[in-house]
């Protein structure tokens, strides 16, 4: 079953603009992770945020987590054409003893 739901399903922006993707989930979590997928193949891990953290940064990526609203956001600043990909949030539910549950993803297109 789907735990995370990304919003929007698709996003198209101009190079240099910021891209924000949101993720909502249903049950309590141990941690939440964001992944990128190019061309429908292997996923690349971007960032992990634990349930007791509120914000994390990695390069041009900023992730926030609001456990009271059961939501997270991924911000990509100063986007590049190479950022064009699908972005998935994934959650580790409950106490952390079960594998990642993925959402359906947001398709980001960055136009040069």
């Amino acid at each position: 079953s789907q735990q995370g739901e990304e919003d929007p399903q698709a996003l198209s922006i101009q190079e240099g603009e910021n891209a924000t993707m949101n993720c909502s989930y249903k049950t309590s979590i141990n941690n939440l992770q964001w992944y990128r997928q190019n061309s429908g193949r292997g996923l690349v891990h971007l960032i992990l945020i634990r349930s007791n953290e509120r914000e994390k940064h990695s390069g041009r990526l900023r992730v926030t987590l609001d456990t009271s609203k059961k939501s997270s956001s991924l911000l990509i600043t100063a986007s590049r054409a190479a950022d064009t990909a699908s972005y998935f949030c994934a959650t580790v539910p409950g106490s952390g003893n079960t594998p990642l549950v993925f959402g359906k993803g947001t398709r980001l297109s960055v136009i040069a």
Partner: protein, 116 residues
């Protein structure tokens, strides 16, 4: 190895035939996962191996699907009597796990299975 290796990268099979998909995880990663992804969809969990523990098979869609992991390393996912709805990209991942899934997963490039 340096990454998670999956083979074959593409497989076309006739309906009713059996297929085997292989995954070679990162050395030292104790956890291994299989997911599948249908066109334009998210990832569907299939099965999870952790060390010598019994695998979590809760995601396998039917008894035509099975998987094994030999020697705590290489894993094979077998689909018997393939059906057209089995067509998808099958993704393998590995990670460090010590009781909790609080590490990122490293994914292979996947096997695209097409059942005709």
């Amino acid at each position: 190895g340096a990454g998670v290796s999956q083979s074959p990268s593409n497989k076309v099979t006739e309906k009713g035939k059996d297929v085997e998909l292989r995954c070679d995880p990162i050395s030292g990663h104790t956890a291994l996962y299989w997911y599948r992804q249908s066109l334009g969809q998210g990832l569907e969990f299939l099965i999870y191996f952790q060390g010598n523990s019994a695998p979590d098979k809760s995601g396998l869609p039917s008894d035509r699907f099975s998987a094994e992991r030999t020697g705590g390393s290489v894993s094979t996912l077998t689909i018997q009597r393939t059906q057209q709805e089995d067509s998808a990209v099958y993704l393998c991942a590995s990670s460090l796990v010590s009781g909790k899934h609080n590490y990122g997963y490293t994914f292979g490039s996947g096997t695209r299975l097409t059942v005709v």
